[in-house]
Amino acid sequence: MTDPLHDDAVSRRYRELPPEEPPRALDEAILAASQRAAQARPAPLVAPTGRRRWYVPLAAAAVIVLAAGLGLHLQLERPEVEDVTPPSPTVLAAPPPQEARPKVAEAKPPPQKQSAEPAPAAPAPPERSAESRPMSAPKPQAMEAPAPAAGARADDASRESARQSRDRAEQSVASSAMAKRSMAIEETPEKALERIAELRKAGKDDEADRALAEFRKRYPDFRISDEMKAKIERR
């Protein structure tokens, strides 16, 4: 198929015109420029490379800042979460469920048992069962663990050391939670009974009676051992 817009005669005559070519110096200049550009191959990629160079540390810094912020946030949030968990005084007043007690007792024998009963071989089986129930409750442990002041210090320390290591922060969180629990408990039934026994022993019978009445009002279901009854009741 011939091109209607092509004229052989015109084309032939055009080809008869002198063959013009660029001067050699121009050839060399252009080729030299092309070689320089090829050697400096990243030249057109300078901008992307530069962006990449900025991008990497920027991205790393962003990740670090986000991670640190998140960690700090979590550390500061945890104590507040713990604040929700401590049982209310009314819950503390009620004896814990039966099935929960033995587990706690097995996990950590209450230290009070040893101090209250220096001669463990002596006690009779009924006494032991009666003693073991209140003694195995978690409350005495909470009482004896950290003092409220120490707990408050630990609480403050945990907040101040928020930027420090996570382990330390967690320890602080745990101790602060314990402290809060212990503050919530005014006096355990066992302690109250011991206090009444001391009053009775000191001859302050009226005061002991009032305390005992208050105790029975406060812990109506608390089962007092015969040994303790002998100590706290008026003779």
């Binding site: 005559r13 070519e21 191959r41 057109p44």
Partner: protein
């Protein structure tokens, strides 16, 4: 070095200096004649010609073989010539009608063509064409472009490109008949 123009340009884009040399060797004469016969002034033609190749070098990272390399090369040349015409005060719309761009040098007898009156007359007729028609004819002859390719390289529609080429051929045929 073997390979299509497009493959060579891709090779050069990836840093192959030898590929550019081959491309340059293939197209330097046609491009130089295209520029020289468009502006008719050798010093200016050399300057524009070098700038066109520099643009090719600079644009290598953006090169994508969506069209023939020659179309891409002569499109760059066209844009450079348009810039030149603009500096000369010639609007694009006038390129079809202008007979002699402002500032064009007086035509002297070509030393090689002296005595060859037919060729001299043909060259005069070519140089007397309006820039747009001359460009269409030169793209057809030097770059081997058809109407569609001329339209693409010059940013014109095909009808305009076809019309320009037809007018150019008509006037050059008249010069041959004289």
């Amino acid at each position: 070095m073997e390979g299509s123009d497009e493959a060579l340009m891709l090779n050069y884009r990836e840093g192959g200096a030898a590929a550019f040399e081959e491309l340059y060797r293939r197209h330097k004469a046609a491009l130089f004649r295209f520029v020289l016969r468009s502006v008719r002034e050798r010093a200016l033609a050399e300057e524009l010609y070098q700038e066109i190749w520099m643009r090719v070098i600079e644009a290598r990272s953006r090169y994508e073989p969506q069209a023939k390399f020659t179309t891409w090369l002569f499109t760059i040349a066209h844009h450079r010539l348009v810039d030149h015409w603009r500096k000369k005060g010639l609007q694009l719309a006038a390129l079809d009608d202008a007979i002699d761009p402002p500032g064009a040098p007086d035509l002297e007898p070509h030393p090689i063509l002296e005595g060859k009156q037919g060729l001299e007359r043909f060259l005069r007729a070519l140089e007397a064409l309006p820039p747009a028609q001359r460009e269409a004819f030169l793209l057809h002859e030097e770059a081997g472009m058809n109407v569609a390719e001329i339209a693409r390289a010059t940013g014109a529609n095909e009808e305009a490109a076809k019309s320009r080429l037809r007018y150019a051929l008509s006037k050059l045929k008249e010069a041959l008949a004289e």
